[in-house]
Symmetry: C2
Subunit: 566 residues, 2 copies
């Protein structure tokens, strides 16, 4: 057991937040000046005209009308006594930053100045003892507590219910951001829940370890948030989903801490660990996670491959999952997403260049249809021998499924740029576009059907709302019995962007359910996925879950209304 000593500030001022109106930090924005194919591509697929250069959104915080805080002086005083005056915020900016996550609905609403209900105050506890006092105060004083990590949620887990009349406390976990210690013998790290991805990896990497959890939100999401929403990451094929990574847990409950031992497996009744995972704040406040960590791999490589069709790409991923190979990433884009990737590349380098160079030969020699072509990334991590052997096995499988390797260049670029897409969405919104994602998991036997019915459902939805829409997807994780499919959809919205979005989102989610897939593979439920819960886990399942919440939180203090609605 080694104490990881990090000189980290735990001041309130050091807690990082994203922009109130969009993804990421101020000053970083997408532009396409070096990607000449991008604007024409977007114009073609959704009819949106993109401006060049950096775009000024014109959004001003002062234009917002923020509902006044209803927190009474007694509540504020009590919280100040617990965390100190500097750790209780009642100013409008802090409250607004803690109102929404970053789904397209959230961004549409915040950009339109829609703030039905805003947390009445934000508290920044410095440690678990303070969290306990806040939780106990909340129960005693009938407050509502909404735990807040990085604020990256995209299913409505963070927003207060509009009709809530009690005082709402947003409990920002940002000061609890330390790797407390690493059991190097066991590969187990005790980590505070409020640490954001890059900060945690930095602390772990400094000791030669990695968590191996890299969701799309990585740069702005927290370990506690990952656990609370059942997150999955880009390298979960190797490292497991957060449910696999999470061994021990500490959760502040009214009156005390629910503590789960960090043992590799246990047969102690229904899994409390698996009740906390995915609980989205409804069972208490996660303060600490003992997570499985791995030594940094000696070698790490992402190779790109091309397949003549989506079916070939899927068949290859399935064959890889069935084989003895164990790559760290298995990803294949459908033809739409492949075309999108090429359009966002810079000429002379980038994903497309090498492929563009190869194309004439490819098409002639193989007779491929360039519009059906699918780009795949397979990741390899481990000792050089393991990496070489896995690449060889995968290479054979790719070839057997009519695919071809296109080297490490595109993979390197993918690796560097993989967290940038949300900035693109903000830029797209600046020009009247709406884009968001839906993801699911299904058995191998159903994936083709899921994919084609999601396309059909989205296109029907686009027709219904009278827009030129676009949908694209990829397989993002493989399991023994199936895979995760991840879809991105976009359209130029009209005046009622939120209602239009709802039509498209609804159509896609219902297609998941109708094909036997799940309503969500790793984004959680929040408010947005609730309408499909009883179809997914059966009404009896929702009732059991509701019973769990009601018995654990009879006062509906902890993020009420999320996951199950009641």
């Amino acid at each position: 057991m080694t104490d990881v000593q990090q000189q980290k500030s735990d001041s309130v001022a050091a807690v990082k937040h994203m922009k109130w109106w969009g993804w990421g930090v101020e000053g970083v924005a997408f532009h396409h000046d070096d990607k000449p194919a991008f604007a024409p591509f977007v114009k073609k697929i959704v009819g949106v005209e993109l401006s060049s250069g950096q775009h000024d959104t014109g959004l001003k915080f002062d234009d917002l009308t923020v509902p006044a805080s209803i927190a009474g002086p007694e509540v504020v005083d009590s919280l100040v006594q617990i965390v100190g005056a500097d750790a209780v915020a009642t100013d409008d900016h802090d409250r607004v930053v803690h109102t929404y996550g970053k789904s397209i609905r959230d961004l549409i609403r915040i950009r339109a100045g829609i703030l039905a209900r805003v947390p009445d105050l934000v508290v920044y506890p410095a440690d678990e003892a303070q969290v306990q006092q806040i939780v106990d105060l909340a129960v005693a004083s009938d407050l509502v507590v909404i735990p807040f990590g990085g604020g990256s949620n995209i299913v409505g887990s963070l927003e207060p219910l509009p009709a809530e009349t009690r005082t709402i406390v947003s409990l920002d976990m940002g000061r609890l951001d330390r790797v407390l210690d690493i059991d190097e013998d066991s590969g187990l790290a005790r980590i505070q829940a409020g640490g954001q991805g890059p900060d945690l990896e930095e602390q772990l990497n400094a000791r030669g370890w990695t968590l191996g959890h890299f969701p799309d939100s990585f740069t702005h999401s927290t370990l506690g948030g990952w656990v609370a929403t059942r997150s999955s990451g880009m390298q979960s094929d190797k490292y497991g989903d957060i449910a696999d990574i999470t061994k021990g847990l500490r959760v502040v409950r009214p009156g005390g801490v629910l503590a789960i031992r960090a043992v590799p497996s246990a047969s102690t009744g229904p899994s409390l660990r698996e009740m906390i995972i995915g609980s989205e704040g409804r069972l208490g406040v996660i303060t600490e996670v003992t997570a499985q960590v791995h030594r940094l791999p000696e070698k790490r490589e992402i190779l790109a491959y091309l397949f003549p069709s989506w079916h070939d790409g899927l068949a290859a991923m399935q064959a890889i999952a069935e084989s003895d190979a164990s790559p760290s990433v298995t990803r294949v884009s459908d033809s739409h997403e492949t075309a999108f990737s090429f359009a966002t590349s810079k000429p002379g380098k980038g994903i497309s260049q090498k492929i563009t160079d190869l194309l004439p030969t490819l098409l002639k020699a193989k007779g491929w249809d360039v519009d059906a072509m699918c780009l795949s990334f397979i990741g390899y991590e481990g000792g050089p021998e393991h990496v070489a052997r896995t690449q060889k096995t995968v290479g054979r499988i790719v070839k057997a499924n009519r695919g071809m390797a296109v080297g490490t260049g595109p993979g390197k670029l993918y690796d560097q740029k993989k967290f940038d897409t949300p900035y693109l969405r903000d830029f797209f919104m600046d020009h009247g576009g709406a884009a968001d994602v839906s993801e699911t998991a299904a058995p191998w036997s159903k994936l083709r059907d899921v994919s084609s019915r999601v396309y059909a459902a989205a296109n029907q939805a686009f027709d219904r709302i009278g827009v030129q829409g676009w949908i694209m997807g990829h397989l993002s994780h493989s399991y023994h019995s199936g895979a995760c499919l991840y879809f991105t959809f976009a359209f130029e919205h009209g005046d009622d962007a939120e209602a239009q979005y709802d039509v498209v989102k609804h159509a896609i989610q219902q297609a998941f359910i109708d094909t036997g897939a799940t309503v969500s593979h790793h984004h959680g439920v929040g408010l947005e996925h609730q309408p499909w819960m009883s179809q997914d886990v059966s009404p009896e399942g929702v009732a059991v879950m509701q019973g769990l919440f009601d018995s654990a939180d009879p006062g509906r203090v902890f993020n009420p209304g999320k996951v199950t609605g009641a």
Copy 2:
């Protein structure tokens, strides 16, 4: 999707049960006539004199005083209407068979004719619809329902509470024993919960598939029982614990079926799947499991190895877990269990012979202490190339940890005999001995401490009760962050065998808790492990679990009192 058509009888008469007084089927018994080292060894370690030949227990069912059934005619009539007269049993033999599992406490009590409370009747539903009717009747009529699989439980999950005044129905799932279909594309099999291990494997093997789940109880336990108790098997290193294998579930709840889709992973709130797993009947009746299945491996081999000490053996298992190798079995016995294995071998063949032949060379060349020597079995499954490569990697690690390979012979024998140990226990009991097992899991960093403190605790307990006792153990499963340790203890009991057992069992379980290990890795909680639950998962955890049970089963109809007590 292929329907698996099997000509299986679903008659009540075809439902298999174990002996009322011991393990397994009538007519099969342990004897040691071909194992000359065995009786002297047992005499030495626990002072028990074993007779030769087959032993007649002298136990007669007619000597038992079985409390009369309190089931009223209305209840019996209602059940007969649901399942038919031949599927409702009220005879004493059937009721007694459904009273206990097969823990040492169970066997001590049944051999002593202690029957505080016996199920009032046994029902054998033919399908899920009948289970639903029984469940609904039980809720409406305030009955108690205890689901029954193979009856192999050893933690008291099956026995009725002595003070129960309501009519108790043992719900025997034995007629629901079919593999319903196999999704060959996805490696998912839809299987009825009441099928016993060998029957299920036979149905799967016939189609080229295996579940890969082989607990010690395999020959007499059911899929539903495995799920209900969070089982783990001998090859779980490769195939996963039952929690990994279980994808979809159907659970009959009052008023309807809780159905969980068989998707590879989902982010739909707290995991209902993981609440049902380990629920020991308290959340309803599991009728169907969609399980991950694997194609039968091309090659399958178990190799034996020897290590000069327990610490070397553990270090090797840890290094294997950290390596790129993925064996199907990782097992190493401590020196006591190694000595026991040698003593139970037949001369001329068996585990010991090859090793005995090697010993003089070994000891001279390597300077090993023969009393400290530890026997290990590592299993390999997959394609020939994978098996060869894994064996090579493991071979290197074994050597680096001062161990040596001793070939496939002992492994083959281990493989054939691995389910026979419980028969030995019955024979041992015939001679005044008591023996049982305790198992746990802990991080790698704690295993040595767990092991030595368990030994110390057991030996102190033996002293306290004034017996010559024996304890032995092995590592039975490896994970990234730790392993399962499995202990067997034995002593010659006095008049109060149950009280003596409690002292020893208590000491061992408390040593688990005190060293940071868990109260159980794969045996469940039942009644026997309850005393340590709040130390293991914290009082707050037990309260949340109790809340789940209370909300899901306010009438305490479903196996009340198990897992949490209330």
